[in-house]
C-alpha cells in the first residue's frame, strides 16, 4: 500500500492540486473557500472555466491517443467522433427535449455506429490510405453539419446555440459542480485507459503499432483489436463532445473540421504520443498557450502555434512526457552531480 502511494505520488499530488485548485486560486484573490463554494464571481470561477476546457481537451486527446499513439492508426477524421457527440447532445436536448441519461444512451448508440463505420474501412485500407479515407468521411460530416439543409437542427455555419443545460450542472451558476464533474470524468477515463493499455488487449494494440505483420504472425486477428480501440476512442470522444456542448454556449462547426483533429495531434505531440499522461500535459500547454497568445498577440496566434508545432517535431519529437521518461535517469544523475558539487 505504502509502495503504491509512493510510486504514484506524482499522480496523487496532481489530483490533490486539481481538487484544491479552485479554492487556492480563490484564496490568492481574496475570496474565502465559502465564496468559491457558492460560485461567487471572480478569478476562481474564470480559472475553473479554463480548467474545464483543459479537462475536455484532455479527454478528447486521450481518445485520439488510443488509436494513434497506442494502436498506430492515423485517422484524419477523428474530429468527427467529437463533433458527433457534441452535436447529438445539443440536438437531443434542444430539439427533442431528452433528459441527460437518455442523451447519453443515444450517444453510446451513435458512437458505436460510427466506430463500426470506420471499422468497415479498416480491413481494406492501411496507413496513408486509411488517413485519406477517414479524412474523406470526416469532411463529409463537416459538410453535412455546415449545410443549410439541416440548419434547423445544427445551426449550419453559425453553430449550434441555445442548448438549455439542466440547472443542477449549469456551467454559469453551478460551475464548481461542473468542474468536479469534468475532473471526475477525466480521472475515470484516464484510469480506464491506463487499465486498457496494460490489459492483454491493449498489449496487442501496442504490438500492432510496432509491427502489424508480426502481430498477425503470432495468431492475432488484428482487425478485432483495432476495432476495439476505435470503439473505445469513439465512445470517449463522444463523451468529450457531450461535456463540450454542456459547457460551451455554442458548438462551432469547426469542431467537425480537420483543424480540430490537428489540435488533438498537436496536444499529443506536445505532451508525448502514446503516453496517456502526455494528453493532460499537452492539453494544459496547448490551452494556456492559445489563451495567452490570443490575449497578448492577437490574430497571429496560429503562426506561433504552427512554429511551436514545427519546433516540437524537429527537436522534441517524443513530447514533454515522452522525453521526461527517456531522460529522467539522466536528469536525476545530473541533478545529483550538481548537488554533489555544491555539497563539496
Amino acid at each position: 500500500m505504502k509502495n503504491f502511494l509512493i510510486s504514484h505520488r506524482g499522480s496523487f499530488l496532481t489530483l490533490l492540486l486539481l481538487i484544491l485548485l479552485p479554492f487556492i486560486v480563490g484564496l490568492f484573490n481574496g475570496a474565502s473557500p465559502a465564496d468559491v463554494f457558492v460560485n461567487g464571481n471572480g478569478q476562481s470561477k474564470f480559472i475553473q472555466g479554463l480548467a474545464i476546457e483543459i479537462f475536455i481537451l484532455t479527454i478528447y486527446a486521450l481518445s485520439f491517443d488510443v488509436i494513434f499513439g497506442i494502436t498506430g492508426l492515423l485517422s484524419f477524421g477523428h474530429s468527427m467522433f467529437f463533433a458527433v457527440g457534441a452535436y447529438l447532445t445539443g440536438i437531443a436536448i434542444k430539439s427533442f427535449g431528452l433528459s441527460l441519461p437518455a442523451t447519453l444512451g443515444w450517444l453510446v448508440v451513435a458512437s458505436v455506429v460510427q466506430a463500426l463505420l470506420f471499422g468497415l474501412v479498416l480491413p481494406r485500407v492501411k496507413g496513408i490510405t486509411f488517413a485519406l479515407v477517414t479524412l474523406g468521411l470526416g469532411s463529409v460530416f463537416h459538410i453535412l453539419v455546415m449545410s443549410s439543409e439541416f440548419g434547423e437542427y445544427t445551426g449550419a455555419d453559425v453553430g449550434l446555440q441555445g442548448v438549455i443545460v439542466p440547472a443542477f450542472i449549469s456551467p454559469a451558476n453551478e460551475r464548481l459542480r461542473f468542474y468536479f464533474m469534468a475532473l471526475t470524468v477525466m480521472v475515470l477515463i484516464y484510469l480506464l485507459y491506463q487499465r486498457f493499455v496494460n490489459s492483454p488487449t491493449g498489449r496487442v494494440c501496442v504490438a500492432i503499432r510496432e509491427n502489424e505483420g508480426r502481430a498477425q504472425m503470432l495468431g492475432y486477428n488484428t482487425f478485432y483489436f483495432k476495432l476495439a480501440a476505435l470503439l473505445l476512442s469513439s465512445l470517449t470522444a463522444a463523451l468529450a463532445g457531450f461535456l463540450h456542448t454542456l459547457y460551451q454556449p455554442i458548438v462551432s462547426p469547426n469542431t467537425a473540421g480537420l483543424g480540430y483533429t490537428v489540435a488533438a495531434l498537436l496536444i499529443l505531440l506536445i505532451g508525448g504520443v502514446g503516453t496517456l499522461n502526455g494528453a493532460f500535459v499537452g492539453a494544459i500547454v496547448f490551452r494556456l498557450l492559445d489563451y495567452g497568445l490570443r490575449r497578448y498577440i492577437g490574430e497571429s496566434a496560429s503562426f506561433i502555434n504552427g512554429a511551436i508545432y514545427v519546433l516540437f517535431v524537429l527537436f522534441i519529437p517524443y513530447g514533454i512526457v515522452g522525453t521526461w521518461r527517456l531522460k529522467s535517469l539522466q536528469i536525476k544523475q545530473g541533478w545529483e552531480r550538481l548537488l554533489a558539487k555544491f555539497n563539496k
Binding site: T129, V133, L135, G136, V140, S302, G306, V310, V313
Partner: protein, 514 residues
C-alpha cells in the same frame, strides 16, 4: 488481346463510366452549356493536376505526404500577384531573398567545414544553436532596415486590394522611392550574406551522419547564381523597376509565371534541405511537420498580404473588349484578343477555359517526357520502386530527393500563379485545392503520374457538372420532381466518390498493387 483486357480492365471500366456519365449529363442540358461545363471541368482539373502531380511525385519518391502543398500553391499565386501588380516591390525583394537563400545553396560545403573543426562535446552541442541565434539576430536587425517599397495592409488606400483594383483598371502605379537610411548598402549586403551562411552552417551541424564530400566547382554554381541575382538586384534596382513598369501586361504576366515557379523551386529546395531531410527516419513526423508548415505559411501570407481577397489582373492578351468581341472564331480572337469567344453560341472565357487546360496539357506532356525519356526521370521512376536499391547502385538519391521536392513545389506554384487571375487570391485557396488534389490522387492512385491526371480531370468534371446542375436542376425520370444539387454537394460528391473508390480499389484507379 485477352491479356490487354485483363491488365487494363480498371482503366476501361473508368473510361466507360465516364462516357456514360458525360452522355447522361449531356442529355439534361443544352449543347453549349455542356461544352462550357466540360471546358470548365478541364480547367479546374488542370489546376488540380498541377498541384496533384507535384504532390504525387513527392509522395512517390520521398514518401513524404506534403500537406503544405496547398499553402505553397497559394504562395505561388501571391508571388505572381506581386510581380504583376507591384514590380517595384518585387525588384526590391530580389536582393534580400537571394541573399537569404545563398547560404543554403552551399549545402555540401558545410560537412567538410564541420569535419575540420574539432570541438569538445558540450561545445558541439551549443555551437549550432549559437550560430542559429546569431543568424536570427543579424536577420532581425538588418531586414527591417532594408529599403523595400511595400504596400500597407493596415492602410486601405495602400492595401493590396486597392493596388490590384488600380492595376485592373490600368492605372499607373505609384513608385515609392526607397533608400538605405540607417545602414549602408555594402554592410547590409554583407551582413545578410553572413547571416545566411552562419544560419545554414548551424542547421547543417545538426546532421551528424558521416559523409565524404569532394568539392568541385559544381558545388558553387548555385551560390554564384544567388549572388549574381543579389548584385544585379542592388545595382540595377531603378533600371529594372522602370523596365518592368514599361513592359506590356503580357510580358509582365510571363515574368510573373516564371518568377513564381522559380521561387517555388527555391522554396521547395530549401524546405527539403532544412526541414524534411532530418526526418526521413520518422515518416509520421514529416507529415506533422508539413501540417505545421502549412499553418505558418497561411499566417505569413495573412501578415504580408492581408486577409481580404483580391484578383490578379489578366494579361491584355486574354482581356480584350470592344465592338469586335466576343470573337466568333480563333482567327478572329487572335486579331482582337477578346476575353471571350463564342463556341456553339455560348460564351467561353479564353483565359479560364482554354488557356489553362492547354497549359495543363503542356505540363502533363513535358513531365511525362521528363519521366520517361531522361536519365533523371529514370532515376525518379526507379526511386519510386525502391529508393534503397537505387542508392546502392551508387546514385546520389538525396540530391534527386531535393530536386523532385523542388520540382513538385515549383509545379504547385505554377498552378497558383495560373489560377490567380481566374480564381482570385484568398488565404484559404490553398486548403480547398489541396483537398481537391488529395481526392484526385486517391481516386487516380497516390503514386501514379497518369493517375494524378485522370483523377484531377474526374474531380474537376464532377464538381463543375454538379455546379451547373445546381443552376438548371435535374429532372428525375418518370417524376415531376426537379432536383437541384446544393452547393455543399459539390465537395461532398467527390469525397464520397473517393471513399467508394478507395474501398473498392485501395490503390486507386491506376495505382500499382503492392
Amino acid at each position: 488481346m485477352n491479356s490487354f483486357l485483363r491488365k487494363n480492365i480498371v482503366m476501361l471500366v473508368t473510361v466507360l463510366v465516364m462516357a456514360v456519365f458525360l452522355t447522361a449529363a449531356a442529355q439534361g442540358m443544352e449543347k453549349k452549356d455542356f461544352v462550357i461545363t466540360l471546358l470548365r471541368g478541364l480547367a479546374v482539373g488542370s489546376i488540380t493536376f498541377l498541384v496533384a502531380s507535384g504532390f504525387s511525385l513527392i509522395f512517390g519518391l520521398l514518401d513524404v505526404l506534403n500537406l503544405a502543398h496547398g499553402t505553397l500553391f497559394m504562395i505561388g499565386a501571391y508571388m505572381g500577384w506581386t510581380v504583376v501588380v507591384r514590380p517595384d516591390t518585387f525588384v526590391d525583394l530580389l536582393t534580400p531573398l537571394a541573399l537569404i537563400v545563398s547560404g543554403f545553396a552551399l549545402g555540401d560545403v558545410y560537412p567538410l567545414l564541420a569535419s575540420r573543426i574539432r570541438l569538445g562535446l558540450s561545445m558541439k552541442r551549443i555551437l549550432p544553436w549559437a550560430l542559429i541565434l546569431v543568424s536570427i539576430l543579424l536577420f532581425g536587425w538588418i531586414l527591417p532596415r532594408f529599403p523595400i517599397a511595400i504596400w500597407d495592409v493596415e492602410n486601405y488606400a495602400q492595401s493590396p486590394v486597392t493596388f490590384s483594383f488600380m492595376a485592373d483598371s490600368g492605372a499607373r502605379l505609384p513608385v515609392m522611392p526607397a533608400a538605405f537610411t540607417e545602414v549602408t548598402m555594402p554592410s547590409a549586403f554583407i551582413g545578410l550574406l553572413l547571416a545566411s551562411i552562419i544560419g545554414a552552417f548551424g542547421i547543417s551541424l545538426f546532421d551528424n551522419s558521416p559523409r565524404t564530400v569532394r568539392l568541385s566547382w559544381k558545388n558553387f554554381i548555385s551560390i554564384a547564381i544567388a549572388l549574381i541575382i543579389a548584385v544585379v538586384g542592388v545595382a540595377f534596382n531603378d533600371a529594372m523597376t522602370t523596365f518592368l513598369y514599361g513592359l506590356s501586361s503580357n510580358w509582365l504576366f510571363f515574368v510573373a509565371v516564371l518568377v513564381a515557379t522559380l521561387s517555388g523551386v527555391a522554396l521547395g529546395g530549401v524546405m527539403e534541405a532544412t526541414l524534411i531531410r532530418p526526418l526521413y527516419s520518422r515518416p509520421i513526423y514529416q507529415l506533422m511537420l508539413t501540417l505545421g508548415m502549412s499553418a505558418i505559411g497561411i499566417e505569413m501570407v495573412r501578415v504580408i498580404w492581408g486577409r481580404p481577397e483580391f484578383v490578379m489582373p489578366k494579361p491584355a492578351f486574354f482581356n480584350g473588349t470592344g465592338g469586335a468581341c466576343p470573337a466568333t472564331n480563333f482567327a478572329d480572337w487572335w486579331a482582337n484578343n477578346c476575353s471571350t469567344i463564342l463556341l456553339l453560341d455560348g460564351r467561353v472565357r479564353v483565359y479560364n477555359e482554354i488557356f489553362i487546360p492547354i497549359v495543363g496539357l503542356v505540363v502533363l506532356i513535358s513531365i511525362w517526357i521528363l519521366l520517361q525519356r531522361t536519365r533523371l526521370g529514370m532515376i525518379i521512376r526507379a526511386g519510386v520502386q525502391d529508393s534503397q536499391m537505387v542508392e546502392a547502385l551508387g546514385i546520389n538519391v538525396r540530391r534527386v530527393f531535393t530536386m523532385v521536392f523542388a520540382l513538385g513545389v515549383g509545379l504547385a506554384s505554377l498552378g497558383g500563379v495560373l489560377a490567380a487571375p481566374s480564381m482570385g487570391l484568398s488565404n484559404l485557396m490553398g486548403e480547398s485545392l489541396l483537398l481537391n488534389a488529395l481526392i484526385a490522387l486517391a481516386i487516380g492512385g497516390l503514386t501514379s503520374y497518369p493517375g494524378a491526371a485522370l483523377g484531377s480531370v474526374i474531380v474537376g468534371m464532377i464538381q463543375q457538372f454538379i455546379i451547373k446542375y445546381g443552376q438548371i436542376g435535374i429532372a428525375i425520370p418518370f417524376t415531376e420532381i426537379i432536383f437541384k444539387p446544393t452547393p455543399p454537394l459539390v465537395p461532398a460528391s467527390t469525397v464520397m466518390l473517393m471513399v467508394i473508390i478507395l474501398l473498392l480499389l485501395p490503390n486507386g484507379l491506376l495505382g500499382k498493387k503492392e
